[in-house]
């Protein structure tokens, strides 16, 4: 073995690393030279301590096992600023999404909110749930009070396609 993280005693997992690179269709999106511009502008950094440049480097070094099971990859708010600003056209965002997909595959612990979202899409076909609205006259309305027709659930074919897409990732 060529390298060990002395703190956690983690070793590079080159198999997982190649899996991630396969998901990213090559090395272009991890071709990072550590200018750290992504982290300087990261929306999730201040509250959630996400450091996109570190994720790029860890994937390059193959120190991915810890990363896949960590909470940090779920803190990205997908604002895509890192993708826009990267001088090397790398993309921490795409790497994070690839890591999340890997986490799902491995059935690692995934934050509850994400799972709720998935089941909601499966059930309703919508990314956001139906919400009540308050008017300027302080009246609360929903579809029913506005006499709008009930929304039909998604077709079975959608659910099948969605499940299939999930598995393919």
């Amino acid at each position: 073995m060529s390298l060990i993280d002395s703190m956690s005693m983690a070793k590079p997992n080159l198999k997982t690393r190649s899996k991630i690179l396969a998901k990213l269709r090559g090395r272009d999106l991890v071709n990072c030279f550590q200018c750290i511009k992504c982290t300087s502008g990261c929306t999730a950094l201040k509250l959630l301590e996400l450091e996109p440049h570190e994720i790029e480097k860890l994937v390059n070094l193959g120190l991915v096992d810890e990363l896949v099971s960590s909470d940090i990859i779920w803190t990205c708010v997908t604002c895509l600023k890192c993708v826009q600003r990267c001088p090397q056209k790398a993309s921490p965002y795409h790497v994070i999404i690839a890591l999340r997909n890997l986490a799902v595959e491995r059935e690692a612990k995934i934050p509850e909110e994400f799972m709720k979202k998935v089941s909601q899409i499966l059930e309703t076909g919508l990314a956001e749930s139906m919400q009540k609205v308050t008017t300027r006259k302080m009246e609360t309305c929903d579809r029913e009070s506005l006499k709008l027709p009930k929304l039909a659930g998604p077709k079975e074919s959608f659910q099948a396609a969605f499940m299939k897409a999930l598995e393919e990732r």
């Binding site: 073995m1 060529s2 390298l3 060990i4 993280d5 002395s6 703190m7 090395r27 272009d28 071709n31 990072c32 030279f33 550590q34 750290i36 440049h53 570190e54 790029e56 480097k57 860890l58 390059n60 070094l61 120190l63 090397q88």
Partner: protein, 676 residues
């Protein structure tokens, strides 16, 4: 001449004073208007003006118009350092019909505004005093003429690496005769040892060898390999140089390079060309593409030459069909008369054993970048296979460590300029030769890929899955199996990484050649603080020494890669052509002159002169024989050491006689009149 000076000094002079603003460089601190007004109060001043940029075309024209209209015969210009624009203004006053040496420059920038920017009022007073001194001196200046002397046109090129080869070819193609001197038995230098070259990965030998052959065959080039410069006499345009051809103990004209002798020689010798990674014999040809391809016997190892007995060994002489072996060969001295010199002695690679933290020299798997070149080169000791020097097996993990001996105040403070690119290239070579399975890491400080195509090369390295670790190891250790391990704190991830590797390649920097001390003495070529040769001006005269007629090419002036070396070599060749093409040179008249009657022949000046510009002549006058100092005008640099030391005041520097200097001193001590 002195009489003329006295006549001029006693005559009424008409002086013009011109104060330059230098934008805000001077005017931002010094009240230039006040200085000009003050100048008007001094005696013999006909006109005093100030202007934004005196060196500009309108500034120069203003002075020229005044010289003609007001019949000025002396000019004082208060401006930047005379090193900067004295020549410009001399030309300008000469165009207006005045002798260019009746001009005095007062330095208001380097001597006043820049050092005293915090105290503008005092600075203005100092400026006034300096102008007053300049005016006092300018009255006593004498008109001088430049002299033209004829020169030799041949050029000596010292060092047969790519810089020397390129400069020689350029000069030879332009019709100049060139003597190319190389210390080693073959030309080619450092570049001949390299495998591939960045950023194009073309093979070093493939692009160098044709040039080596061209220069050796060129009718205008005389190749002197296995030779060294012994002595240099003379001055720009008129050098007399002695070159010693060390004995090869092989007749170069007879040897056909068949290497039969090498096959029979019983003495194994570390191979210098292969960085001592392999062995050659006591009689050998320097490298597989040596030019000239002639065998050389190493007298430190050859049994016959060591024992000096006629019956010992002699196997090479028996094997040689051409009868080229000559154990009696003696050193031979060649005398040359040349006009200019191009120094291209190159650099050496830092010796990493001085840094115990990396274990170079103790751990066989820690190698230097130049050793890697030989390992990777097809003509090297492993035939181009990358193998661990310890086990002879291909390494599974290769780590490159940057900035070894460079950017390190304990050794060399400068950046070596090539280490990053060399490691990138070598990392790419490892990937190309050994495939996907080998782990490659580069531990770097800052990765500097500044040249044309270099950043793209860095990207290519990352594309090839070469890993960059932002951090430099502090202790490389060796495990019992010979493999290496060390910790690196990685800046990007803030993790302490423990790395294991079976080959560590150190990016050793380039350091001044050990020959530079000798070159410094032989050619009066100064060195900069980093130990390399010093150029005359870091920006505007990068290709020449401050000693006239000596030019610099390649890494002897500072670490350089091949593109920069070749560019500088062609530039130095062009500068040499510029100097020598006309067959004559112009000499500055600001030299030492000897008053024959006063000279007592004490030889103090001769012993002091740093340029060997004084010769003692014996002459007979009527009834007595007398020793007298004579100045070799072309060698004198006008430094004034002799004049200061002369006990009788016989030797003077033109324009710096006691009278001229003391007039300035008097003016400096005089009370300020008016103005303020």
């Amino acid at each position: 001449m002195f009489q003329t000076g006295l006549q001029l000094a006693t005559r009424m002079t008409r002086i013009g004073v011109y104060v330059c603003h230098c934008g805000l460089n001077i005017a931002g601190t010094v009240d230039v208007e006040k200085v000009a007004e003050y100048a008007k109060t001094l005696p013999d001043i006909v006109v005093a003006k100030h202007y934004t940029y005196m060196c500009s075309e309108p500034g120069q024209r203003m002075i020229q118009d005044d010289i003609k209209a007001l019949k000025l015969d002396r000019i004082v210009i208060a401006t930047c350092s005379p090193r900067m624009h004295e020549e410009t203004f001399r030309k300008a006053v000469a165009e207006a019909g005045l002798n260019p040496y009746l001009l005095e420059i007062v330095n208001l920038r380097e001597h006043v505004s820049w050092p005293h920017s915090e105290e503008p009022e005092k600075a203005t007073e100092k400026a006034k005093a300096l102008v007053r001194m300049g005016v006092a001196r300018v009255k006593l200046l004498e008109p001088l003429e430049k002299r033209r002397v004829s020169i030799f046109k041949d050029v000596l090129v010292v060092g047969g690496g790519i810089a020397g080869i390129q400069a020689s070819l350029d000069l030879a193609n332009a019709g100049f005769k060139v003597y190319l001197v190389e210390k080693a038995p073959s030309i080619g230098g450092r570049m001949a040892q390299l495998d591939k070259t960045f950023p194009t990965l073309d093979c070093s030998a493939c692009i160098l060898t044709p040039k080596m052959v061209d220069v050796a065959k060129h009718p205008n080039v005389t190749l002197l390999t296995n030779s060294e410069v012994e002595s240099v006499k003379g001055f720009v345009g008129n050098y007399e140089v002695a070159i010693v051809k060390k004995p090869r103990y092989v007749d170069g004209d007879k040897c056909v390079g068949c290497e039969l002798c090498t096959k029979v020689c019983p003495v194994k010798v570390p191979d210098k060309f292969n960085e001592r990674l392999g062995k050659t014999r006591a009689i050998s040809i320097y490298s597989s593409h040596a030019v000239p391809k002639v065998a050389t016997i190493d007298p430190d190892f050859c049994l016959r030459l060591k024992t000096k007995k006629k019956d010992v060994c002699g196997k090479c002489a028996q094997a040689c069909e051409a009868k080229a072996i000559n154990f009696e060969q003696q050193p031979e001295t060649v005398q040359l008369k040349i006009g200019g010199v191009i120094i291209a002695v190159g650099s050496e690679v830092f010796d990493a054993s001085r840094m115990p933290e990396y274990g170079y020299g103790r751990f066989p798997n820690v190698i230097s970048n130049i050793e890697f070149e030989r390992i990777s080169d097809a003509s090297g000791p492993t035939n181009g296979k990358i193998l661990s020097p310890n086990t002879g097996q291909p390494p599974r993990t290769v780590v490159f460590v940057q900035c070894v001996g460079s950017r390190d105040k304990r050794f060399h403070e400068y950046c070596c300029r090539v280490g990053c690119m060399v490691s990138l290239k070598q990392a790419i070579l490892v990937r190309e030769k050994m495939g996907r399975d080998v782990n490659i890491y580069v531990c770097f400080n800052d990765l500097r890929s500044f040249g044309k195509g270099y950043e793209e090369f860095y990207r290519r390295a990352r594309d090839l899955d070469i890993n960059f670790v932002a951090g430099i190891p502090s202790d490389v250790r060796m495990a019992s199996d010979g493999s290496l391990y060390f910790d690196v704190f990685e800046r990007g991830t803030s993790k302490l990484l423990e790395m294991h590797s079976d080959m560590v390649v150190l990016a050793n920097g380039l350091v001044p050649s050990s020959d530079i001390t000798e070159i410094n003495k032989l050619f009066h070529a100064s060195r900069s603080a980093d130990g390399f040769l010093l150029e005359a001006h870091p920006k505007l005269r990068p290709l020449e020494c401050s000693t006239a007629g000596i030019f610099l090419a390649g890494a002897c002036q500072g670490p350089k890669d091949i593109p920069d070396t070749v560019a500088q070599a062609s530039g130095a060749a062009a500068k040499a052509m510029d100097l020598l093409a006309s067959g004559e040179i112009e000499l500055e008249p600001l030299k030492a002159v000897v008053d024959e009657d006063l000279c007592s022949g004490c030889r103090v000046c001769e012993s002091l002169c740093p340029f060997s510009a004084i010769e003692m002549k014996r002459e007979t006058k009527i009834d007595e024989e007398k020793l007298r100092a004579e100045v070799i005008e072309a060698m004198c640099q006008g430094c004034g050491l002799c004049s200061a030391a002369c006990p009788t005041g016989a030797i003077k520097i033109q324009q710096y006689s006691n009278k001229q200097v003391l007039a300035q001193v008097d003016a400096a001590l005089a009370e300020t009149k008016g103005g303020n």
